[in-house]
Amino acid sequence: MSKIHVTANVNGDAVEFLASPGMTLLDALRDELSLTGTKEGCGSGDCGACSVIVDGRLVCSCLMLAAEAEGRRVQTIEGLAQGGRLHPLQEKFLEHAALQCGFCTPGLLMAAKALLEANPDPTETEARYWLAGNLCRCTGYDKILRAVLDAAAELRQARSAA
């Protein structure tokens, strides 16, 4: 089975790799590009631990073929902090103790980033439904919701101040 040559942009960097036809984007990120921050919890799109943003859209990278990343812009957890500074969502997750084991955290942060890009002022209920595709078994979601809503408020304030 011949491999497919894929070129894409991952976290701002041009990357290329060879993908077997059945390889998922998740496996390409983890095994070909050594970006292991994106996690596999189920491999069936049910847990959200592998969430990444592709051309602005939140996807489960375990459900997307690596070959489909050709020419696309992929954002992963490794690209969330910029210039040595944590993203406000990352800051708020730490401040609110919104993680315990931390395994679901990269996926939740990417899902929350996509949420705030789509809806900068979500209600708690809107945020809960948006994040319903991301399983967390440790926290009961309470502190995650507080962190996301607090980060949303901070980002809105920063935007209006700018």
């Binding site: 189920c42 049910d46 103790a97 395994f103 319903a132 967390c136 078994r137």
Partner: protein, 763 residues
């Protein structure tokens, strides 16, 4: 929001303990840098995969791997023949003992496959595809046997027997025939018949729970490398690197010191990672192939072959006086152990009535083997199941007598001086304060909406101490490294750093806490039993105190005063000698910098066996709303109060409470193993095994009760991680009872069951 009841006035305030600093491992976890079990690779590693039994119960007649071994890229195939055939032997684990023979046979089936998903062979190959092809090429000849998955059917006369040599322990006389009941623990007090004769009102109920999985999001994963000199390395995600070492040494017949286990970050465990599944197999494959071997389970494998918590049948009969005083209790607990003995029914027997002071009781447990995955510990193992029965029955009693659900529990509550149902006399418990916190909460007084019900339930867990090691090292700039032997699942590194910082008088940011591998620190029991902050925290505190003592001695040397003339305060030595009042305080940094001239490096290690863990009590309050048209229910409000002794890092204590509640709600409403007629699990994925998601839950209010600090811990901590999952099953079921007007006893209380119960009540 959460609130904290303050400890009694007059106690010294802490500088660090009780504050909420950012966790030391936080930055790595929000950036994807933290390395979990599957995030590690070794040069030249192979892919390991396991062949699993398609049958729930079958004799393994023959395994022919010749074709698989001949395939390109296949480097090794192992079966039970590659592991020593162990005799029955009990080895102490974290909070439960394991029989190494059963553990070995669970890791790799020898003569019989005892559940669908049971490992029968394993391969190592150069790629996933080659490994999969090898699994497909292994020919296993099975003789399929009749199987049994239901606990009551497994106990019945004539049930298919899993083990020909299993004779029930705990009976008056040794049984003459083997059965599926491995043991029958009993706990009793007083005179049961006389107690019930005294009763003015009696309630009886039978309750069921399905098997549920711990549901950690990180599948089991490891890398193992066997060296030509017989020494080996294991990188794995588990609740205890020393547990992995002990079990691998036993199962492979090698010396423990020949195995170095490096703990990866662990992506959740909840008890399910207190044992081994992959590590011994990866080691055997590495030994056979001469290459490192990496193994990662699929979610399907996690469901079929690890965990779960047992399904159970609970029968409860309570007798009480009209004022609510419970005078007699008869509790029967029938637990599904899975393919091998070892359900947590013993702990369930001990905890069932631990919140109550009842003069006459009999609690009987049955540990029953079934053709289902071998059960593993799950957060307060056994206690939530027992609490489902007892708390539902107490709720029925309250309804029958027209009593307030908190009042009836207060009336029968254990308190300091009460002899616990399981033996010891309680002291320094805050159970009554915990009940009062719920009774006095705004939530308890809030009105309910239409189709809503409010449930109360309480729970108990022992918490344990045990063997722990820790070391504190000073760097030459006075910054601090804290090493311990316990994997950090929920934030324990933060607690370790905070306790060390408190003792040393430095800011928590100057302390770097690390989880050490098995060659870098003394033995430590695994992270389980809510023991780490208590027991390992005690070791860290004592090691930090030794460092302080050393620092004082160094200052005394430099000042030429007796050590008694040196006080350690705010991270510096202060000279108390009035004759040397001109001596400026010496900071930890300056003392560390001059350590070479005052005796050498400053570090201390402590290994101890911590005793006196304070038990945990939890009181939960749940508001639930039913959609009468669909049977769907929603948790609309939830408050959990807990006796925590002293919260070291309150945010992570609240997190334990909230997480336990969420797991308990899932257990109560949706989660279950569904087996078909062939004993195959029908829902081995997160789509059909439905754990709570963000939109299923409200905010969960945690009330931390700190009125009874644990006198056996330097800062008063009690274990906090397990008891939060004890009350929710019954709190939800009791809320459902009051919302629906009928008692539903068969968990999970999923919409079809609720709708059927509502329809039955309506017709």
């Amino acid at each position: 929001m959460s609130e904290t009841l303050q400890r009694p006035a007059g106690k010294a305030a802490f500088e660090v303990v009780g504050t909420r600093p950012v966790r030391p491992d936080g930055a790595d976890k929000v950036t994807g840098r933290a390395a979990y079990g599957a995030d590690f690779d070794m040069p030249g590693q192979l892919v390991g995969k396991i062949l699993r039994s398609p049958h729930a119960h079958a004799r393994i007649v023959a395994i022919d791997a010749s074709k698989a071994k001949a395939l390109p890229g296949v480097k090794a195939v192992v079966t039970a023949a590659d592991f020593p055939n162990l005799a029955s032997e009990i080895v102490e684990g974290g909070e439960s003992a394991s029989n190494t023979r059963d553990l070995s046979l669970n890791v790799m089936a020898r003569d019989k496959a005892l559940y669908q998903g049971h490992a029968v062979a394993a391969v190592a190959a150069t790629s996933v595809a080659a490994a999969q092809a090898a699994l497909d090429a292994i020919k296993v000849t099975y003789e399929v046997l009749p199987h049994v998955t239901d606990v009551l059917e497994a106990m019945a006369e004539g049930a298919p027997l899993l083990h020909d040599d299993l004779y029930t322990e705990g009976l008056e006389s040794r049984p003459t025939a083997p059965s599926n009941v491995s043991r029958r623990p009993v706990s009793q007090r007083g005179d049961l018949e006389a107690g019930f004769a005294l009763a003015e009102v009696i309630v009886e109920g039978s309750y069921r729970t399905a098997a549920v999985h711990q549901g950690y999001i990180e599948p089991h994963a490891c890398v193992a490398a066997w060296s030509e000199n017989g020494r080996c390395e294991v990188w794995s995600s588990s609740q205890g690197q020393f547990m992995v070492r002990t079990y691998c040494a036993k199962l492979l017949g090698i010396e423990a010191s020949d195995i170095r286990v490096v703990p990866a970050e662990i992506g959740g465990g909840f008890g399910g990672k207190t044992t081994v599944y992959l590590e011994p197999v990866a080691l055997a494959l590495s030994r056979a192939s001469g290459r490192p071997v990496k193994m990662v389970m699929s979610r399907d494998e996690v469901f079929r072959a690890t965990g779960p918590n047992p399904a159970a049948v609970i029968e409860v009969k309570l007798g009480a006086l009209k004022d609510g005083t419970i005078v007699a209790a008869d509790v029967k607990l029938k637990f599904q152990a899975g393919g091998f003995p070892g359900s947590p029914v013993g702990a369930a027997v001990m905890t069932a009535l631990a919140c109550y002071d009842i003069p006459n009781f009999l609690i009987t447990g049955w540990d029953v083997v079934t053709n289902t995955p071998k059960t593993a510990a799950y957060r307060a193992p056994g206690a939530p199941i027992a609490a489902l029965g007892v708390e539902s029955a107490v709720d029925e009693l309250a309804l029958k007598l027209g009593l307030d659900p908190i009042a009836i529990r207060e009336k029968n509550a254990v308190r300091d001086g009460t002899k616990a149902s399981y033996g010891p006399v309680f002291s320094n418990i805050a159970y009554l304060d915990t009940l009062a916190a719920i009774r006095d909460s705004e939530h308890y007084k809030a009105p309910l909406g239409p189709n809503q019900g409010r449930g109360v339930a309480v729970g108990f867990w022992f918490n344990i101490g045990g063997e722990s090691s820790a070391a504190v090292h000073l760097a030459d700039d006075g910054s601090v490294v804290v090493m311990s032997g316990n994997p950090d699942i929920g934030g324990s590194r933060a607690s370790m750093a905070m306790m060390a910082a408190e003792v040393l008088g430095v800011s928590v940011e100057r302390v770097r806490p690390m989880v050490a591998d098995t060659t870098s620190i003394g033995f430590s029991m695994l992270t389980g039993g809510s023991r780490t902050t208590f027991a390992t925290g005690m070791a860290v505190t004592q090691a930090a105190q030794k460092v302080v003592d050393d620092l004082r001695a160094r200052a005394a040397l430099l000042w030429e005063v007796p050590v008694e003339m040196v006080e350690w305060r705010a991270g510096a030595a202060h000279c108390l000698d009035p004759a040397k009042a001109d001596k400026a305080p010496m900071s930890i940094a300056s003392l560390a910098a001059t350590a070479g001239r005052t005796g050498g490096p400053i570090s201390a290690q402590v290994s101890l066996n911590a005793q006196g863990a304070g038990p945990g009590f939890a009181v939960h309050l749940c508001d639930l709303e039913i959609d009468p048209e669909t049977g769907e229910s929603t948790i609309v409000r939830y408050t959990a109060a807990q006796d925590v002794g002293k919260a070291i890092h309150p945010s992570y204590v609240e997190g334990q409470v909230q997480g336990g509640v969420a797991q308990g709600v899932g257990w109560a409403l949706n989660e279950e193993y569904v087996f078909d007629a062939q004993g195959q699990m029908e829902n081995p994925g997160f789509l059909d095994y439905r754990m709570p998601v963000a939109s299923d839950l409200p905010m969960i209010d945690a009330i931390l009760i700190e009125t009874a600090p644990n006198p056996n811990h330097p800062f008063g901590a009690k274990g906090v991680g397990e008891v939060p999952i004890v009350p929710p099953l019954a709190a939800v079921a009791n809320a459902m009872r009051r919302a629906a007007g009928v008692r539903m006893t068969d968990l999970p209380l999923s919409p079809p069951k609720v709708l059927a119960a509502l329809d039955a009540a309506r017709s």
